[in-house]
Amino acid sequence: MADIVYCEWLKLRRSKILLIGVLGSLMVPFLVAANDIRIAAAKPEAFLSLYGLYEDTILFIMLLFGPLVLAVVATYLINREYTEKTLKTIFVLPMERTAFLLGKFIMLFLLICLFMLLSWLDILVIALVCRLFLGGQAVTVSQAVAVLAQMQKGAILMFMTLTPFVYLALRTKGSIAPFIVIAAVSLLNVVLSASPMACFYPWTAAYLLQTGRYAQTGCPTVFGVLLLLGVCGFGICAAIWRFPREDIV
């Protein structure tokens, strides 16, 4: 499995999708910081802090940027094998199709973790710069580690909501349908984020679980966890069920 995941990583060399993900990861904290600096300039009582930056960033990442960009990444990982017709080169190797698919899921998870790590690094650097030049709050190691842990928790939750897109990409062998669906999902995310229905909608539920606000909606946290496990399980199981039965034409 390690070899399969390593090869998935090698396949991403020079690919623009990696660059898009990296730039996106760095861009969100930067835009959030620009907005916070604007507010701090207008209201001297407002101050820039690591937590403040993190909370605003995670909101945008979990509700808007994450689903959009990461679903595109998930679709790309699968779809490129169809558009470049490489499955007929890969599946004549002594390797199970299920193992190949699991390699894709692991790669997607690692990429989400990587993008979160980059966003965290970006937040950290911005917070330190603000501290040095704009009089923001002090940044401690324990704070930084806690934010990193929270963001990686967010990465896990986000991965759980993205597995159906892998199945969708396999099912449609194209990128149009997944893109349309993810656009609708993101739109609903924004619409439902402040609604009482948010706890029933997996993509918003992931944000609420990540920030620890799920229970405030009135639903028990365990329901949210089960909801995400169900979505994740559906995505993985449906893909594993379908892929080995598929003819490579």
Binding site: R80, E84, D247
Partner: protein, 308 residues
């Protein structure tokens, strides 16, 4: 199902949306030989090969590889097979070398020089750092061949591997395949729609048309059937055969039917032989020179038709 061939299929059939692509094909590919699968475009060659490689599942029928049937054939055994199916496909954003490294890694190959060796054999060692997307069709085909042979497989399944190659490339590839077969005992199943190509490579030939295997025969037998010959129609064919052997020392002839005899050797002496028959009291009803060739045979077999 016990199999004595490297590849053996029994009534292999594939139906796509109600249309039959491959219809009850029973192939027999002997070990250590080159088997040419000949057929027009759309005859079902690629579909048949994909079923052999388990890329598509047969609607019915069975496949035997290395003596083991599909169910018993362990996927791990696929390291014994090298293949090119249709146009070679690799990752566009990677170089030739990177693409082969990925395949070697996934195949579990540990010989470090296998990639460099394969690239050298197909003449791409100077172009190994070029991105796959920048390769010409011929170079892509060469890279496909490198990927197929880099692990020194016992069986090669090649779907029109000469497509896009220049004449020198075709000659080199042909020499390589012949060398692999003769020196290393590699079994090769190669498909083509070009008869001439098959003539120069194959030991056995299978003709696929509209999904059906019309004929499976050895090239030797085929040449025999399609050589230039003189056909005598005589009153006593056994006596004529005896005269050929005893008076002229000819053994390369064939009794086709009652009264029909084909002479493959010493065609220039046909007038003399005719006189010999007459002198021996044999009535020669007809004598004609026949010019058989593989193209005619192929056209006759598939029944002509529109452009394939």
């Amino acid at each position: 199902m016990m199999c004595e061939y490297t590849i053996e299929t029994k009534d292999l059939t594939k139906v796509y949306n109600g249309s039959v692509s491959v219809d009850g094909v029973s192939l027999h590919v002997p070990k250590g030989q080159i088997y040419g699968l000949l057929g027009r475009n759309g005859a079902g060659k690629t579909t048949a090969m994909k079923m052999l490689l388990n890329l598509i599942r047969p609607t019915s029928g069975s496949v035997c590889l290395f003596g083991k049937s599909g169910a018993a054939f362990d996927r791990k055994q696929y390291h014994r097979i090298g293949s090119i199916i249709e146009a070679p496909a690799f990752y566009e954003n990677l170089t030739a070398e990177e693409n082969l490294r990925i395949l070697a890694k996934l195949r579990g190959q540990h010989r470090r020089d296998s990639v460099a060796c394969a690239l050298r054999v197909v003449g791409l060692d100077k172009e190994k750092n070029k991105l796959f997307r920048a390769y010409s069709l011929g170079m892509k085909q060469r890279l496909g061949l490198a990927a197929a042979i880099m692990h020194e497989p016992e069986l090669l399944i090649l779907d029109e591997p000469m497509n896009g190659l220049d004449p020198i490339g075709i000659h080199e590839t042909r020499s390589l395949l012949l060398r692999m077969c003769r020196e290393k005992g590699t079994t090769i199943l190669i498909s083509s729609h070009i008869l001439n190509e098959m003539e120069q490579l194959a030991d056995t030939i299978g003709v696929l048309h509209a999904g059906r295997l019309l004929e499976e025969t050895s090239m030797r037998k085929l040449y025999q059937q399609n050589r230039r010959y003189v056909e005598f129609e005589v009153s006593e064919v056994n006596k004529a055969a005896m005269i050929l052997e005893r008076s002229y020392g000819i053994s390369d002839y064939e009794v086709i039917d009652k009264g029909l005899l084909r002479l493959y050797d010493r065609l220039d002496s046909r007038a003399e032989i005719n006189a010999g028959f007459v002198q021996a009291g044999i009535l020669v009803v007809n004598m004609s020179i026949q010019e058989g060739n593989l193209e005619d045979w192929f056209t006759r077999l598939i029944g002509g038709g529109g452009i394939g």
